[in-house]
């Protein structure tokens, strides 16, 4: 048998050792040495430490995911106080600070960090409120007829979203602008839907949210923004 290929030695390390190769390794110092080198590297990579999580971690994860699981309770239980914050206040804050940021004007008393913090707070709140609305839609059992409240919230969120997206675009933040663009299209679909979703329309919106991984992207971006905000 010819000398073993590196790929065969890697397979051998993971327990897939061809009988002919096993025989060859027992008689070939060169291949055995090559195998030992691979083994040494791969054994050392096993020492990659992972931060520990204690026994209560499972309970903590459960607590965090519980609000996002499909609920048997009334949809109103989803509402949090900040989902009821008038959108106009948020929009005014975004517009004011986004304007200052994009026009590079310097307002006495507002440091760049302060403006940054307000934008991050606005983005986080917006994404969290959007996440709740989308989660409700995805998890809805489809038996309701009246979606008036959701449509109004979607319209408010779409207005906020437009400002945030324009700010992100102005600042050449393609990733956030793209996410906000995807989100805006779904929000507008919801806002412009007839007062009662047909099961087919609901299925279409759900499919878009799920196929595009929109909820997950919103959750990641929101968590990211929240962390940055806390660092400021």
């Amino acid at each position: 048998m010819n000398h073993a290929l590196e790929e065969q030695l890697v397979d051998a390390y993971y327990g897939e050792l061809d009988p002919r190769l096993r025989e060859h390794l027992s008689g070939c110092d060169e291949c055995r040495l090559a195998f030992e080198r691979i083994k040494e590297t791969l054994d050392s990579v096993r020492e990659y430490p992972v931060p520990e999580r204690d026994a209560s971690y499972g309970g903590q994860v459960w607590t965090r995911i519980l609000p996002s699981l499909p609920e048997k309770k009334s949809h109103r239980t989803w509402l949090r106080w900040w989902t009821l914050v008038p959108a106009t206040a948020v929009i005014a804050a975004i517009a004011f600070f986004a304007g200052m940021l994009t026009q590079s004007r310097r307002e006495p008393g507002f440091s760049p960090e302060a403006r940054q913090r307000v934008l991050l707070a606005a983005l986080t709140t917006h994404l969290e409120r959007s996440q709740i609305l989308l989660t409700e839609l995805v998890n809805d059992s489809g038996v309701r007829n009246d979606w008036t409240g959701e449509r109004e919230r979607a319209r408010d969120l779409a207005d906020e979203n437009r400002l945030l997206r324009q700010t992100a675009l102005h600042l050449k933040d393609g990733a956030d602008a793209a996410l906000l663009d995807d989100l805006e299209r779904v929000l507008l679909d919801i806002a412009n839907s007839p007062s009662g979703f047909t099961s087919e329309q609901l299925a279409n919106v759900r499919e878009r949210i799920e196929n595009e991984g929109l909820l997950f992207k919103v959750r990641i971006t929101s968590a990211d923004a929240r962390r940055k905000e806390q660092k400021l």
Binding site: T41, W62, L69, L101, K172, F216
Partner: protein, 199 residues
């Protein structure tokens, strides 16, 4: 006596939320370890853990018990980790270089993020992680997921191929390329050690 995962998953499939809670409590730590190895970042791993269980909850009716529940869950976790890495990568690639009035490059979300690991992180991870994590970062997302599944989870190539949605040969090649890159990245350490021993 503790019920098997399969029995508990059966109850969860019937809509028993408490049964699903049992599964979350049993598997969160192992899913976190897997997610951390795949993403290399604690906060991303936390997001992936949550998303994994959310997707598992929604798809529990698809769990048919042919594979172990943990295997099924790890497959979901790997897909979430892939999404997370791609999202992170896309955000990084599109980082704008906005310059503020002081001439400092900034970003409306990231401008104060520390580029280097914190002292605590370095202490926690130790010297080995300092070498291994940068080496793992040189892998593509597919190579990294394939390698983690193979190396740490002991998955066979067919299982990795199914998880990644690629052909068996492609999965095998991803693992092999990952090993090659890791060897290249870690080689200077071994060379230095051999040199030290030879003196």
């Amino acid at each position: 006596m503790e019920s098997s995962d399969s029995a508990v998953a059966g109850q969860a499939r019937q809509g028993d939320q408490n049964a699903f809670r049992v599964l979350v409590e049993r598997h969160s730590r192992s899913v976190f370890r897997l997610a951390f190895r795949m993403t290399g970042r604690e906060e991303d791993a936390e997001d992936v853990v949550q998303e994994t269980f959310l997707r598992a909850y929604k798809q529990i009716h698809r769990f048919d018990g042919r594979a172990a529940f943990s295997t099924w869950l790890y497959r979901i976790c790997a897909n979430c980790a892939l999404d997370s890495i791609r999202a992170r990568k896309s955000r990084k690639e599109q980082q704008p270089a906005v310059v503020d009035e002081n001439g400092t490059a900034t970003h409306w979300l990231e401008h104060l993020a520390a580029p280097n690991p914190s002292p605590e992180r370095l202490t926690q991870s130790g010297q080995i992680a300092q070498l291994i994590e940068p080496a793992l970062q040189k892998l593509t997302e597919t190579e990294r997921i394939a390698f983690v599944l193979r190396h740490y989870e002991g998955c066979d190539i067919q299982e990795i191929a199914r998880t990644l949605g690629v052909e068996t040969n492609a999965a095998k090649h991803s693992v092999f390329r990952a090993v090659q890159k890791l060897r290249r990245a870690l080689q200077p350490v071994y060379d230095a050690r051999s040199w030290g021993m030879a003196r």
